[in-house]
């Protein structure tokens, strides 16, 4: 397979800024090598970007337990269409990912799916309660490299301390769902002007910031690698920036909705704007953008959280938290970060591929001759209108329906195989040209 006419974007990689790539037997080859071999597929993208496969280190696939909202198969299809070659799925399933058998089930389901790599995240504590630690050594043998109780905070500081100490023993990453449960209470949206106007119970920014600061303090105490999930407030960004300057082993992620939407979106009482942590103020959005630009926030993840329509098409205070994101993430990043010049193409690759791979210990996020091809071909010119009805995800809880975005994945390649190919649309409205020889 030859990919010609596209620019390789792989910061610090040997192929950076070259034109085009050749894949033979699933592996990248040095350009120029085996030039005599006839390619079985030639794809020509003028102005396209060839990047290492995108990674999403924070998704929920709902299997086992809530297959009506998403399954491994549908979630990985959605990932492929979004340009992702690897995703990490969070353990708040039923049963939760707190023992080897559930990890094995997920990996087996992933093998039957479209080819996108799945990395299950294990639970920190059994049953996602705040009591007993999981058997992290065995989880690691089964293929788990990070643990998290995402969806629920580990509310006891003492349990979190023990978890960090124990995780450090096996070089497991702890992913923190930073939330002070008591302070969140039964809040449904950001506490501030709009919660007052709309009469909805508020979740103060401090509910996140207290937990971020606590977990940073525990990381400093234990030396355990800590990753803060879904950062949403200016105060959290500040705390993480200071911790990094001090040398605490902390990394962090945010999600596209935290830099594209504010709490004013809740005016519609549409539950597709209800997420946890909640959409915040303009000032927080500005701080998130700043954190992305200066590297305080390492990663853009989606926190893809599928919910069936029955859980969302209800009164706002009774609706579930969370939105899907796999199929809109790249478009939102390109439209709202790349196009206005807040980040460049190389930053995009770091934010959406390389740093997640490094944090999670995955052998991906780069393009090197001799390795199995794992890449995404991005068409930065393609403009498209978000229509959740067309998504591969089983759920439709997307707040971006009707938004016009510029940029999307035209092609997703895992182990040299096409797992997604936006053929008809790409041919129709972009420079993508495909010749099957």
């Amino acid at each position: 397979m030859d990919l010609v006419g596209g620019r390789v974007v792989d910061p610090d990689g040997p192929l950076n800024r070259r034109e085009g790539l050749r894949i033979v037997d699933g592996r990248l080859v040095e350009p120029g090598d085996q030039a005599d071999l006839e390619s079985d597929l030639m794809i020509d993208l003028q102005g396209g970007l060839l990047t290492p496969g995108l990674s999403d280190m924070h998704v929920h696939l709902r299997e086992p337990g809530y297959e009506d909202a998403e399954t491994v198969a549908t979630g990985l299809r959605a990932a492929a269409r979004g340009g992702f070659t690897r995703v990490a799925c969070m353990p708040n399933t039923n049963p939760p990912v707190d023992q080897r058998s559930v990890v094995e089930l997920l990996l087996a389901r992933a093998r039957e799916a479209c080819g996108v790599h799945l990395h299950p995240v294990g639970a920190v504590t059994r049953g996602l309660k705040s009591d007993d630690l999981t058997e992290m050594a065995e989880l690691k043998e089964a293929g788990v490299t990070a643990v998290s109780n995402d969806g629920f905070p580990v509310f006891s500081s003492r349990t979190m301390r023990r978890a960090m100490e124990y995780a450090k023993t096996f070089d497991m990453l702890i992913i923190s769902h930073a939330e002070d449960e008591g302070l969140k209470g039964d809040g449904v949206m950001n506490e501030g002007y709009w919660s007052t106007v709309l009469g909805l119970r508020g979740i103060p920014a401090a509910a996140e910031e207290i937990a971020v600061m606590r977990d940073i303090a525990l990381s400093r105490l234990t030396g355990c690698r800590l990753h803060i999930a879904h950062v949403s407030t200016a105060g959290s960004v500040d705390a993480i920036r200071r911790a990094k300057a001090e040398g605490v082993p902390v990394t962090a992620e945010t999600a596209p909705h935290y830099f594209t939407l504010t709490h004013a979106a809740l005016q519609s009482y549409d539950a597709n704007f209800k997420m946890n942590p909640p959409l915040r103020t303009e000032r927080d959005v500005e701080a998130i953008l700043q954190g992305i630009v200066d590297g305080t926030l390492d990663v853009i993840a989606t926190d893809h959280a599928p919910h069936s329509q029955e859980k969302k098409e209800v009164e706002l205070d009774q609706a579930s938290f969370g939105i899907i994101g796999l199929e809109t993430s790249l478009g939102l990043v390109m439209t709202h970060l790349l196009r206005p010049g807040r980040v460049g193409a190389e930053d995009l690759v770091r934010l959406m591929s390389q740093r997640a791979a490094k944090i999670m210990g995955w052998n991906s996020g780069h393009l090197r001759a001799g390795e199995l091809a794992e890449l995404t071909l991005i068409d930065p010119q393609a403009t498209w209108t978000v229509d959740p009805e067309l998504f591969a995800s089983k759920s439709r809880n997307c707040p971006f329906g009707g938004w016009e975005l510029q940029g999307r994945a035209a092609l997703t390649v895992v182990e040299g195989r096409l797992v997604h190919w936006e053929k008809s649309r790409a041919e129709a409205d972009s420079g993508l040209l495909v010749r099957a020889l």
Partner: protein, 321 residues
């Protein structure tokens, strides 16, 4: 108002629309003093009172208003338990649609429920209180009562005392009063004031004496006894001592000052007994005016939908019979 399909809150109303409702209510208020208190304005129309939260006072007031307008009334009450048993608001909506009612009066414990309903049904929706969001007809009857006594709303000073944070009545009153040019101060311990309340155009005070200074209306909010268990207050006793209205407070107030309350009242908590029963209290008038306001709202929404010049003409004449 005549162009509006629903009444969801006072935040969305223009001052002129509020005036239109208050003026119409005055005509209907006259009807209520007649020997035959009934007009044929909504004959043939079916109004569904859908109450997902118990409130006898509001339901009866809407029911009476509908009957005075000759509409047929369907009462649909559920305590919220059937909702948790799997009957969703959307199912209820579909049932209401199937019954082919023209208007729905909705009372619901969730903020935004009326807006949710309005986007899913063809009927006109009147919000009769949704969660902690708005209770527009209560605020309209309050504005009506103030205007009748003080002859204007522009420039009047209103002190709202009590649990503003959890009160839909307070929110609707704040929107209505500030739009009409009144000066509003809210007074409570910080635990009972919502964040950024000043952005709605009101002053805040933690001291009752300060809030009452020069007030022409003292509006007391009902204090839910659960607030003590929720950790908002150390005790009702301390609340009554520091924020309860006492006879000596009244003595400091201008002679025309009105005492108002949306009811039902916790005697001895929001105010001393002697205050509640005093001559400044217009609490029972509020109840009577509530029927007139609800008649006006139902009528105007329907007239706007029908666009019948004849009914509007009748109204302008002041003779809705």
């Amino acid at each position: 108002m005549v162009k509006r399909r629903h009444l969801l809150g006072l935040r969305e109303l223009e001052p002129l629309e509020i005036l239109e409702i208050l003026d119409s209510a005055r005509s209907f208020r006259e009807v209520l003093d007649r020997p035959i208190k009934k007009v044929p304005a909504l004959r043939g129309i079916t109004i569904c009172n859908a109450f997902f939260e118990p409130s006898t006072r509001t339901r009866v007031s809407f029911e009476l208003a509908a009957k005075r307008l000759s509409a047929d009334v369907l009462n649909f009450a559920t305590t919220g338990s059937s909702v948790s048993k799997g009957e969703t608001l959307i199912d209820t909506v579909r049932n209401i649609e199937a019954m082919k009612v023209e208007m729905v009066v909705l009372r619901h414990g969730s903020s935004g429920a009326a807006q949710f309903l309005s986007t899913h049904v063809k009927a006109n929706v009147v919000n009769a209180g949704d969660g902690q969001h708005e209770h527009p007809t209560q605020a309209l009857l309050d504005l009506y009562t103030m205007r009748e006594h003080l002859s204007r709303l522009q420039g009047i000073r209103v002190a709202i005392i009590g649990d503003v944070a959890h009160s839909r009545v307070a929110r609707s009153n704040i929107w209505g009063l500030t739009k009409m040019g009144a000066k509003v101060v809210v007074c409570a311990p910080q635990t009972l004031l919502p964040p950024d309340i000043q952005s709605l155009g009101v002053k805040t005070s933690y001291r009752l004496e300060e809030a009452l200074d020069g007030a022409q209306v003292v509006y007391l909010l009902r204090l839910q006894r659960e607030r003590q268990d929720g950790g908002y207050l150390p005790s009702l006793r301390e609340y009554a001592r520091t924020f309860g209205l006492k006879v000596e407070h009244l003595e400091q107030l201008p002679p025309e000052t009105l005492l108002m309350h949306p009811g039902p009242m916790n005697r001895g908590v929001e105010a001393e007994n002697a205050v509640v029963d005093g001559h400044r209290s217009v609490i029972l008038e509020q109840v009577t005016n509530g029927v007139a306001i609800r008649m006006a709202v139902l009528f105007l929404l329907w007239a706007g939908r029908e666009g019948t010049p004849a009914v509007r003409e009748m109204l302008r004449e002041g003779s809705v019979g």
